[in-house]
Symmetry: C2
């Protein structure tokens, strides 16, 4: 789905470059892993990645010592990106818009990427990187919250830690309902946001229709588990 131009071919200066076929396969593996992990999550086997890359498992393990190394290589950038999203939102002029836009972007990032979601929510793999990112985001989020409260747009009893809890709820929902209706989470974010005002007039319009009864049924049936 995400066809990023993987710019990971830099040779660690001093080591022989990979043979042409090896480098080609390396790229295929990274691309396949990106797709498989974002779509099916970190539970996906390296065998699956190999199959998706049109390559043998051995080839994957020759390039990346183990699963964690591959995951780390893939997600470093995306995790950093979460911090950037927070900082960018902070830059917006309107405090309330800044706050809302951050919630939306953060949730969207998690909702569209099962692997990233698992990385942030549970500490599977690469915990240090994740902790570092969280530490960097903390202050930024606090500022977003304080500004929105100072301008009187955000209820006073809201706290910075609530942001992560909300992100978690929406991410869970996205994981559960994603197969049937990838965007429903936006509907419930909208409801929540209406709950975050100190007071308000008319309800804001909901961006996504409610799931149908049929969809609800598919959901439970689909989850096998």
């Amino acid at each position: 789905m995400t066809a990023q131009a993987q710019e990971t071919s830099h040779v660690p200066a001093g080591e022989r470059p990979l043979r042409r076929d090896a480098e080609r396969n390396r790229q295929r593996i990274l691309a396949a892993a990106a797709q498989v992990f974002t779509e099916r999550g970190l539970d996906a086997t390296l065998d699956e990645v190999a199959r998706a890359a049109g390559v043998g498992v051995g080839t994957v393990y020759r390039r990346f010592p183990d699963k964690e190394a591959l995951v780390t290589a893939l997600f470093r950038e995306r995790i950093d990106n979460l911090v950037t999203v927070a900082e960018d939102a902070c830059a917006a002029a309107d405090p309330w818009q800044a706050f809302v836009s951050y919630l939306e972007h953060a949730a969207a990032a998690m909702a569209g990427d099962t692997g990233l979601r698992q990385l942030m929510m549970f500490g599977t793999y690469d915990r240090d990187q994740v902790c570092y990112a969280r530490d960097r985001m903390g202050p930024v989020i606090s500022r977003l919250v304080q500004r929105a409260q100072a301008s009187g747009d955000l209820r006073g009893d809201f706290e910075a830690t609530d942001v992560k809890m909300i992100a978690f709820m929406l991410a869970s929902l996205a994981e559960y309902a994603g197969a049937v209706s990838p965007d429903v989470w936006r509907r419930y974010l909208a409801l929540l946001i209406d709950g975050l005002r100190p007071s308000r007039g008319a309800a804001s319009p909901l961006p996504v229709p409610a799931p149908t009864v049929r969809q609800l049924g598919e959901l439970m049936r689909g989850q096998q588990r």
Copy 2:
């Protein structure tokens, strides 16, 4: 935690009653299973149940043909109970109170019972029973929603299917955060509910404090996975 008086000792009329030790163990198993499944969820092994009951695995399997049978025996009543909760809520005079009270009771039931949560959210074990319950709750929930909308207390773009999605979100949160702060879900339910009014004045007070930064850290560290 829940020390229900298990009234499951009725002899199926025509079969010899169990020997005294056998009956005692049967009760121990049911009690232990109730505790283990509500606390740790349906992933718990029957070996765990046996250990908690102070009994060998063989004894468990002699009384219940397999894991599913035990789960079914245990949760039938609790699932039925969910329907009753909906019907009871329906009986309240104030439509908005009825609606809110249902949301709260349903979420509370799931939040306090990992096994029930998994049963309702994913179709593990006993799907028929669950589907039957869902079918019975459907109309009741619709009525709750319609009444609350007719009285002008609930925003018009809310739909009956939203109830289950919200229950799911809160249940996920409860599962994630339950170890650290079993009641946080109430905070977010309160936020959501404030978002469900067509319009409103001051925000209603939040029933639970936000998690502390420390708690948030524990959460991620605790989830191992």
